[in-house]
Amino acid sequence: MQKIGVFICWCGSNIAATVDVKKVAEAALREPGVVFSADYQYMCSESGQRLMKDTIKEKGLTGVVVCSCSPRMHEATFRKAAESCGLNPYMVEIANIREHCSWIHKDIEEATEKAVILMRAAVAKVNLNQSLTAGKSDVVKRALVIGGGIAGIQTALDIAEAGYEVDIVEKKPTIGGKMAELDKTFPTLDCSACILTPKMVDAAAHEKIKIYAYSEVEKVSGFVGNFTATIRKKARYVNENLCTGCGLCTEKCPSRKAPNEFNEGLNTRSAIYIPFAQAVPKLAVIDPAACIHFKTGKCGLCEKTCDAKAIDYNQKDELIERRYGAIVVATGFNVIKLDNFEEYGYAANPDVITSLELERLMNAAGPTGGTLLRPSDKTHPKKIVFVQCVGSRGQRPCDKPYCSKICCMYTAKHSMLIREKYPDTEVYVFYIDVRTPGKNFEEFYRRAVEQYGVHYIKGQVGKVAENEGKLRVYGSDLLLNEQVVIDADLVVLAAAIEPDESAKKIATMLTTSIDTNNFLTEAHPKLRPVESATAGIFLSGVCQGPKDIPETVAQASAAAVKVVGLLAKDQITCNPCVARSDELLCNGCSACEKVCPYGAISYMDKEVNDHGKREVRRLAYVNEAVCQGCGACTVACPSGAMDLKGFTNKQIMAEVDAICR
C-alpha cells in the first residue's frame, strides 16, 4: 500500500477563489492510500516545495499528488523536489485544478466537486505508480553528414572544430553542391566560388573530416548515439589513391558529348571528367554511359594517357559500414522540372532559361567564359525578361504551394549585375510580390530599381512565343490593368526549388518525417528547428525548407552545435516512460512492430520460463533508447503484453474508474 501525500495549491486566488481547497484536502484523506493532505498558498514557491519535501521525509511518503496548475507548468518542478529528498520523481502526479477547473468554472460548488474528482483520479493513479529509472546508452563519438553542399560542409567543419570525427557523404563526384554553381551572392555580390572553395579545401584537409564523395547512404539502423550506416561508394573507375587530378585524360578523351552537369547542361564534357577546376576531391571519374570503352570495349585512351596508372575499368562499387552517434541530413534542393510550364516556352526555346542556368552563363568558369550570350545564336541579349514565381505559390498539382524564398533576391542580383556589365541591355522583371525580409535585402532590391533602372512590373507572364528570333512575352501590368507585350532576347524563369529527390528515401531510412512537399519536418517549428522528430537526427539547409546561403550556414552551425551537444556526452539518458513488453504474455505477432514510428521494437527468440514450462519464443523487445513513449504499440497488442510505463493500462483505467465513480 502506498503512503500518499496530497498537496492542494491555492495559486493565490487563482484556484482558491473558485475551489474550496479545504474541502478538497478533507476529501483527499478519505481516499485509499492517502496519509496526509494539506493546502498551501503557493506550492511552487520555495516554502511550498519545502512543505512537500518535509512531509515526504516526516511521513515517509511513497507517493505525492499535487493539485495545482497544469503539469505542463510545474510537473518537472515538483518531481525534482521529490527527487531531492529521495523519492522517485515518477511517484509524483499532478491534478490540474487550475487550467482545467478553477479558471473555467464560476460556481464554487461545481468547481470544488470537479477538483475533488480530479484529485481522486490522480490519487488512484499514484496508487499504481512505480518507481521509474531512466535507461542509459553509450554514444558513438562520430557524426555522419549526408550531403556535401554548403550546409553539409559547414556542419561538418563546426563538428570537426569541436573535436569530433565527422564523415560527409556526397552523391556527386565533388562536394560543393549548388553554391559551387553560383556566380555571385546577394546582397554583397561577392564571388560564390571565392567564399566556398576555401571551405571545401578546409573540409578536405581537416584531420577529423572524412569525405565520401560519389557515395550514397544505403541503409541506416540503430538509434540515437548508436547508428550504423551502410555507405555505397560508387565505382569511379579511377583509383583515387593514384589519380593526381592532372586532367590529361579529360583532354584526350574522344567522347565529348555528355551534357555537363556543372554547367546545367549548357555545354558538354568528356566521358572521363573532373566536375570543375576546384572540385574536392579533385579526381577524375568515368561516366560509363558516355564512355566508349564501356560501350564497345575499345578506346582505352585515358588508360594509355594516365602516367599514374590510375584508370581501373574493373573497379566495383564498395560497401562501407560505419557507426555514428548522430546524423545530419543536408541533402539540399533542385530546381523543379518545367514540363508543365510550357506556356513559358522553356522546352521549345533555348533562349528561355532558368536562373540557375543564367548563373552559369554569367560565370567566368561557365560555358561562355562569363560573357552573357544567348544560347541559341551566341549574341548579346539586349532585352531580358525575368519571370518570378514559376511553379512557386501555386495550387495545381504541378505547382509548389510554398514561396521558394530565394528568387526575389537572386533576380534582383541578376538584373543588377546585367545592368552593371551591359548598360545597353534593358531588364524587365515580372513579379507578383517582391519579398525582401533580410538584412540589407530591401536596400539591395531598391538599388536594382533606383540605381540600375531595372523595370519591375507587377504582374505575371501568360505566354512566351518565339517570333522571328525574338521571344514575344505576353504579360500583365496590374497597376495599369493592361496586358503588356515585350519582344525579348532572353527570358529567365525563376523556377521553384524543391527538396532533392533523395530526401524522401533518406527520411524513410531514418524514420523521420517529411511534409507534403517532401521537406523534412523539424521537431518543433519554433523551438527545435534543426532537430528532426527522431532523436539523433538533425537537419541542415534547404532539405528542411527553402532558405538562402546565410540562413543555411546559420542552420548548419546550429545543427552542428546540437550534434556536438550530443557527442559530448558519454552516455545519454532516456525517457523512462517507454513501452515494455511482458515476456510471458507476448505472442510475437509483430503488430506492435508495425505501428512503431521509430523502429524501436525488434524481435528475438528467447527462452522463457512460463510457470515451469521452458520454451523458446519469439518475443518483442523495446529499445528504450529509441522508444519515445507514444503508446501506439500498446493498443495494437492483442494480448496486453505491451504496456507503457508511467501510463499503464491499469493506471489509466484506475483514473477512468475514479472519474466515473
Binding site: C389, Q395, K458, G459, Q460, G462, Y474, S476, L478
Partner: protein
Amino acid sequence: MTDLQKQIENIKRISGANPEKCMRCGKCTAACPNYSEMEYHPHQFVYFIENGQLDRLLKSDSAFRCMTCFACVERCPRDVKPAKLIEAVRLTLIRRKDSNYLKPDEIPQKIDEDLPQQAIVSAFRKYTK
C-alpha cells in the same frame, strides 16, 4: 442580403470558382488572347466579384467578349478559374428577362456560306438563354 450580394453568391455557386484564392498575379490577363477587345480583363472579373463590384461587370459587355478558350483557367497557378466566373457573369446577364445578347433576326446578315453550324449553335448557347 442585397440583390447584388445574392447575385455574387449565385455566381460563385454556379461557377464553382473561388475568387478568394486569387493571389493577384495577373497571369489570366497576361494569357488572355482577346485582351484587347475587353473593357474589363479576366483578373478584374475575379477582383470585382471578390469585392462586390459586380455591377461594373454587369454594365459592360466584356463578358460577351470572352472566347472561353480556358487559357486563363489552365494557366492560373491558384486554380481560380476566371473563365468560369466570366461565364457565370454572362449567364447572370442573359438570364434576365428580354436580355438575350444575340437576337435570332440578327443572324442572317451575320453568316456567310462557309460558316459552320457550330459557330451559330455555339453563339446561341453563349449569348441567349
